[in-house]
């Protein structure tokens, strides 16, 4: 038996396990791509770069979604103080989503993308072939169905139970996630309109509603691990997500600078997105403040470390690295360079990969029957994993930033005729790409170290 307050919280387990399996896949494909950046024809016949990238980014999105769902199934019953409405539905949706995910990835790997588009009937409702939204239309419909079942299950649970701020914020974030995903079905022949509304999925996810999800999970973990009064923590939560949405919604404008859109977006986007680091900075203050004011010593040191780590890394990756290239006059030169890649890596790792690992760290010992925390030896390995992955990600980001700065210098700043071509510039960046790949290998070592922490000789209480 597990050491859970509500037995139905255990449905989170397959979600967490599968998320981490996909995470491993994501990193392996990242290493393949990193190699192709320096040895251009590495595996080029078997796994062309575009396929590897699609697998890398789609695995990321899907494992984070699995993580968010697991987090919700775990924390919603505990917050609502009632069992989950239907654990059976949660398990059924797990298998549907997992099967759809695996089939989609196999589709990417086994047949040419145009064949996949053809056999899944993309011509009837074309949604494929756009960055991050590469999934066949049928997979997208499946995602909507899974999301609806998931929201129904959570909604019914919250309706019959206690309605805490954390639950309401989490649910708002998840409903927003589902609603904005619907824009992925809008794909007009006019590329400018296509791109404009594509950002309604991409930006309003990661710089909008996902921040609500992150905030809610972090608040839950802080209440549990520090014992600080719920009123205080929920007040901070509201302040942070208010800042996130007030800056982030109009911050979407930083994607509309060069898109057949009016020039005022350069002002709106610059001003509001320049303030987007504020909620992340507040999150750092809040996490450290709450941990300093803790009323108990929680035995799960690793979970607290992840909670502090995600706040700091989200601030650096999403906040600082986002700010670096968000002002329109700067973005004119950096748009679509390796600077963008640097920001993307640290922001996704810091804000979203780490928040999922935070809740996994807190919840898994309880689900597995270890009680409040894993044995010390396992926690030590988990924390080694934390530091190796996090430091490796800092270096990946720094090397990509170095590559980006040099790229802008050689390819973007000079006039036509004097600027180096894209391919000539890439050759000059080789040293940075090699260093990035080495940092990537350290990331994988960190990930393996982290995963070993789940396997321990000590027995669960059951």
């Amino acid at each position: 038996m597990s050491t859970l307050k509500y037995q139905s919280q255990a449905v989170a387990k397959p979600y967490f396990v599968f998320a981490l399996i996909l995470f491993v896949g994501q990193i392996l494909f990242g290493l393949i791509m990193g190699m192709q950046y320096v040895v251009g024809d590495f595996l080029a016949g078997a796994i062309p770069f575009n396929v590897a990238r699609m697998v890398h980014t789609n695995l990321l999105i899907v494992w984070l979604l699995f993580g968010f769902m697991g987090a919700a199934y775990y924390l919603v019953p505990e917050e609502a103080e009632t069992e989950l409405h239907s654990p059976k539905l949660a398990i059924a949706l797990f298998w549907i989503f997992a099967a759809a995910g695996v089939l989609t990835i196999l589709g990417y790997l086994l047949v040419p993308y145009s064949t996949l588009a053809h056999i899944t009937g993309n011509e009837y409702l074309p949604t494929m072939g756009r960055e991050f939204l590469e999934q066949p239309t049928i997979t997208k419909i499946g995602i909507v169905v899974v999301a609806l079942g998931f929201l129904y299950n959570l909604g019914m649970t919250i309706l019959k139970g206690r309605k805490t701020a954390i639950n309401m914020v989490l649910l708002t974030g998840l409903v927003g996630l589902a609603v904005f995903f619907l824009f992925s079905f809008y794909n007009p022949a006019n590329i400018a309109l296509d791109k404009y509304f594509w950002w309604f999925v991409v930006h309003l996810w990661v710089e909008g509603v996902w921040e609500l999800i992150m905030g809610a999970i972090l608040a839950f973990i802080l209440i549990k691990t520090t014992g600080v009064d719920r009123e205080v923590i929920e007040k901070w939560l509201y302040v942070i997500i208010a800042m996130a949405l007030i800056t982030g919604i109009l911050g979407t404008g930083h994607h509309f600078y060069w898109l057949a859109t009016p020039e005022y977006w350069q002002w709106v986007g610059s001003i509001f997105s320049a303030m987007e680091p504020l909620p992340f900075f507040a999150m750092v203050l809040y996490a450290f403040n709450m941990v300093n004011r803790r009323r108990r010593e929680h035995p799960n040191k690793a979970a607290t470390l992840w909670a502090l780590g995600t706040a700091v890394m989200a601030f650096l990756g999403a906040g600082v690295w986002g700010f670096l290239h968000t002002l329109a006059p700067v973005n004119f030169y950096t748009h679509g360079s390796q600077i963008t890649a640097a920001h993307g890596h640290m922001a996704f790792y810091g804000a979203y990969a780490m928040i999922v690992m935070t809740i996994i760290s807190y919840a898994m010992p309880k689900i597995r029957g270890f009680g409040e925390a894993m044995p010390n030896s396992a926690q030590v390995r988990e924390m080694w994993g934390f530091w190796l992955m996090t430091i490796a990600m800092v270096f990946i980001t720094l090397f990509l930033t170095g590559a980006g700065v040099l790229q802008v210098w050689l390819q973007r700043l000079p006039e036509t005729g004097e600027a180096l071509s894209f391919m000539a510039t890439q050759e000059k960046l080789t040293i940075f790409y090699w260093l990035r790949e080495i940092a990537g290998v350290f990331f994988l070592i960190g990930l393996i170290c982290y995963l070993t922490s789940f396997f321990t000789k000590e027995k669960a209480q059951a």
Partner: protein, 148 residues
């Protein structure tokens, strides 16, 4: 945070602030979509351009290339390739595209490799028309130079 600032006040700022700014965002979006016909080159959106966009998507070109800065950063920016490789002339550009697409993969050891997508002449022309279309959109003078 001060005690006089209550959770209820924070909640109201969250709801009020997000709804307010979301409405502004929707209004600006509405205005933008009214302005876009002047800028997005839609008068030249031919059947051929639309077919070219479908080919662009069905072959996941954005998995390696960027288009007006969005996409992958593994291969050159193509939003303005019509200017860079075609000198702004559609016949020159189509000629270039026919040769380039058929020469893939170049098989130069160690060089990044573009697959051959087995497109026919008509499809390559459609793709060229699509890339001409993107190059002629008014995107506030991005990129900074022809190299993209």
């Amino acid at each position: 945070m001060s005690e006089s600032f209550t959770k209820g006040m924070a909640r109201n700022i969250y709801y009020g602030g997000s709804v307010f700014f979301f409405l502004i965002f929707l209004s600006l979006t509405f205005h933008t979509t009214k302005e876009m016909p002047e800028r997005d080159n839609r008068v030249n959106l031919s059947e051929s351009v639309a077919r070219g966009k479908a080919l662009w998507e069905d072959n996941n070109c954005v998995g390696c290339h960027s288009l007006i800065g969005e996409g992958a950063y593994f291969a050159p920016e193509l939003g303005n390739v019509y200017v860079r490789r075609g000198g702004g002339n559609i016949e020159t550009f189509k000629g270039f595209m026919q040769g380039w697409m058929k020469a893939q993969p170049l098989n130069i050891p160690g060089r990044r490799q573009m697959p051959n997508f087995h497109l026919n002449d008509q499809q390559i022309d459609d793709l060229a028309e699509f890339l001409k279309f993107t190059a002629e959109m008014d995107v506030n003078d991005w990129p900074p130079n022809d190299e993209g």
